[in-house]
């Protein structure tokens, strides 16, 4: 285990990440900086590349996918995605993953205990059996699973969905990683369990100082849980916004459209929900210029020419926060009325 990163160093820094499946680029230059203990959300529709970013950072892209550009630094050291052994050392110890579907994320024929122990043994091979068992029980307790000794001997089918997700979180934090990447960790759970899992993640950030990258399509969840939100569209981050100004302060037309399409409790019944005309473009045939232009209510002819500029919407109010910048990739970002 590495020493705790100095507060000055970001826990995770991503610059210009590009990922391609075959000839099709699905992530087209993503920048992301996460400081220790920070919670950053990545949102977007399905197919925008957000889950690909999560898998690419772990170095676990499905067959055919590869990182084609960019630099990733974890706790100050550069990640080499061609060095499988170094990646294996990094995975689980510095960068961890909590997966979408807890029902299929555990090996059905191995006990919960052995699956947590596997993460511990991999990075601390000299740990004694008794120490591993004690640490597993401690981890289960930490993620809120009662009767850990008995639960460790059980198998995934004896765990409910929420309990499995807790066990998976225990696996992910077993080695005190610097960054936890949570890919839709609550999507497969029912609403009450969702809240519990979010609370658990929150308490882990406070207790362990782990940084969290939360990948989800759920804007409500992100605005509540995260410090900062990155909105992705067609493989790019189109807006980066502090979550306290997300509602009411979003500047990119796509983010605004997303927010408007949210069902809000208390809205008059007869009123239609807003929706975005058209569908996201196929990544193999992106429109020229801004990818969102064909669906954008504010688009002008020049939007379809050249890459849209990154516009600083507002400087951080406290200079010390440094990265809590609000930017949008839209030439009309400052003209669009904030909704």
């Amino acid at each position: 285990m590495s020493a705790a990163p100095s507060p000055a160093l970001p826990a995770l820094s991503v610059e210009g990440l590009r990922v391609a499946y075959g000839d099709v680029e699905v992530v087209r230059g993503v920048d992301l900086v996460v400081r220790p203990g920070e919670k950053v959300g990545v949102v977007g529709e399905s197919g925008c590349g957000k889950s690909t970013v999560a898998l690419a950072l772990m170095g676990l892209l499905a067959a055919g996918g590869s990182v084609t550009g960019g630099a990733v630094t974890v706790s100050g050291s550069r990640v080499d995605y061609h060095d499988e052994r170094a990646l294996d050392r990094m995975r689980g110890s510095q960068l961890s993953l909590v997966f979408q579907d807890p029902l299929t994320s555990l090996d059905p024929v191995k006990s919960i205990g052995s699956q947590i122990a596997e993460a511990l043994r991999r990075h601390s091979p000299r740990m004694s059996r008794a120490a591993v068992r004690a640490r597993c029980a401690e981890l289960l307790t930490a993620v809120g699973v009662p009767e850990p000794e008995r639960r460790l001997r059980q198998y995934p089918h004896e765990f409910s969905g929420g309990m499995r997700q807790r066990a998976l979180i225990a696996v992910a934090v077993a080695n005190d990683p610097a960054v936890l990447i949570a890919d839709e960790p609550t999507t497969a759970l029912d609403v009450t369990t969702q809240a519990q899992v979010v609370d658990l993640l929150d308490s882990l950030v406070d207790g362990l100082g782990v940084a969290v990258v939360l990948v989800t399509h759920d804007i409500g969840l992100v605005s509540e849980f995260c410090d900062r939100v990155l909105v992705m569209y067609a493989g790019r981050v189109v807006e980066e916004v502090p979550s306290d100004v997300l509602f009411g302060g979003a500047a990119h037309p796509y983010t605004r459209a997303l927010l408007e399409s949210l069902p809000v409790p208390g809205r008059p019944r007869g009123e239609d929900l807003a929706w975005i005309p058209g569908a996201p473009p196929p990544l193999s045939a992106l429109p020229p210029g801004c990818s969102f232009a064909p669906r954008c209510a504010w688009a002008q002819p020049e939007c379809s020419v050249g890459t849209p500029p990154r516009v600083v919407v507002s400087e951080p109010s406290v200079a010390a926060l440094g990265t809590a910048l609000h930017t949008a990739e839209c030439r009309r970002a400052l003209e669009v009325p904030r909704g």
Partner: protein
Amino acid sequence: MSRPTSSTSAALKRGAGALLGVLATLLLASVVSFVVLRAVPGDPARLIVGPLATPDVLAGVRTQLGLDDPLWLQYLHYLRDFATLQWGYSYSNGADVTAVIAARLPATLELALWAFLFAVVGAVVVATLASYRGGALAGVAKVVSLVGLGTPQFWVALVLVLVLGSSGLGVLPGPSGRLTSFLEPPPHVTGLYTVDGLLAGQPIVFSDALAHLALPAISLALIPGAFLTRLLTANQADVARAPFVTVVRSKGVSRWAAHRRHVLHNALLPSLASAGLVLASLITGSVLVESVFNWPGIGQVLVQGVQRQDFAVVQAFVLLSAVLYVAANTAADAVVALVDPRLRVSTR
């Protein structure tokens, strides 16, 4: 689970239900075998005494065999005799069928066990490498297993003898039975020469027995081996796509370790369900291969019985094979129920 008593009784009920099903299948199988080999072929007495016997002799044999009883009574006797291991006497030479099969069983058992070993080890190695490495290797494994499944075992036996055996390169002995003629069989313990040879501390007997085994066992292993290779390759491909494998990798476990510990383990479990098919293929194979190698096992007894129209031998062998098939499937189900935590009765 929280209430072990109730889940145990549920499991017992399930087990009892399965056992009843197995018994029903076995009874029906015995009816099939009785109808085909006793009721249809006509008069066994005539087959035994030959076409020239006098009516008196014929009638005597008929009474002796109980052929004047009504069919249902004959069936019950047939069932009783099979269950009590009284499999009758050879129509052609009067030998006790049970004794003949018992005497010949170890040779076939030894051959089948080694063939099984070759098939399983070969299939696990090829299928694991193919699904782990993928690409061209997977394609080659697929073609090899498709070809293997289509191979006539008796012809492979012939080709192996021609290429490697005494009439070819002479690398391996064959077709010459279980041991070189100047060697004494090892002292009888299990009846398996390789095992007994080791037990008696006779390495020469062991290696000679193994050399004699090699070609017939390979011929026998080919079809079940190809079958298991296909099955395991497909299973591993399915499991490898499961999200839990990515989770295992995210712990820092290398791809190979994740494959070995998690993918292979999960892929092996469902393949137990084909234990019956593998056994059936070994039984069939022994019938087809033993005669090529002059292997003194029960497969050869059957072939000789067939050629002499000896229904007593065929009857016993055919029903026995069905019983073994059902037993193998039942045993495999039981093993899966013990090994797979999802089916295991939790007592904690």
